[in-house]
Symmetry: C2
Subunit: 200 residues, 2 copies
Amino acid sequence: MTLEKTEHEAALYGPFTQVVRELVDATIRTEVDDDEARAVQAELEGLVARLRSRQLEGAYAASHGAAARGRPWGNAVVGLRNPLAPPLAVVRESGRVWADFHLGAAYEGPPGLVHGGVSSLILDQMVGEATGASGKPGMTASLTLTYRRPTRLGDLRAEAWVERDEGIKTWARGHILDAEGVTVEAEGLLIVPRWLRQQG
Amino acid sequence: MTLEKTEHEAALYGPFTQVVRELVDATIRTEVDDDEARAVQAELEGLVARLRSRQLEGAYAASHGAAARGRPWGNAVVGLRNPLAPPLAVVRESGRVWADFHLGAAYEGPPGLVHGGVSSLILDQMVGEATGASGKPGMTASLTLTYRRPTRLGDLRAEAWVERDEGIKTWARGHILDAEGVTVEAEGLLIVPRWLRQQG
């Protein structure tokens, strides 16, 4: 896929997916009456059918294969076309990666708090990003999360960096921060996947 | 909220949210042409506005407070009204909890595989469910994931159980299985939150 085509699709599907994220949030929070909810549902069913009239057979990366390298649009954390992804826009800087993001109603666990598993979802991605940024892409072999204090829904930051590496293994750390500091810490061991080793 | 009202809302919003899950999947996979994508987006914007004409001020559990106990509909893993949740229908049986579920395009990490962070999201919920089922609801203090082998998108099962407990601490374990066996293991330490201790 050419850079031009990628930019064109990003301009089309970035805003499209953002509207679907709004819909996800509204689905959780709406208090319209029953008739209105049923009417909206019927219209949504029609829109789903229109979108599905021509679609990939499977998931995004699985369907696009190597053509999707550098375009992880289906990814559950950073995917431009995945409404489940906040999405994180990960910045590489000075040997670490970071992202500022907002988590709303869709990411709730305990009342008003980020689901602990959502923090681990984000940190899994971030230690992977840090490892990739260091030049050794890896898949998570193990990840340990330590929850220092509750993380409130709202504006947050995630950071990650590589601690050390040895052969196909990389150890990376990361954390999530709110305005007062670190709420969750992660330590991961990532291993270069076999298919990448064979290429290398 | 009465049981009758809860059942009424479940019958309304269960199917509604399922259609939004379909839309999330279709957003990732659609290949309709640009004009059609823009037309669908415009209609979606209208539907979001209709749903938002009357809505909760904040997230689901935060807005409903104690009234939402036993009705975790906003939860990112089990929430009936949360399109991000697969959702897991967790069964309590013989001292453990389990759930069968399907993960499609929205949960992808590497091509065709479940995002490692999605596995951790699910297992965080499951060790919490196991701890709750044992009579000591807890929030995760730490969680360690061990990835035995890749988890393919598709039909999966998650199980969790309590290993031991001591005062406010409970240690629980869990795993995700495909047709061939365990793919990811988790071990968690959960602690009864302060607000529940004060009630107890």
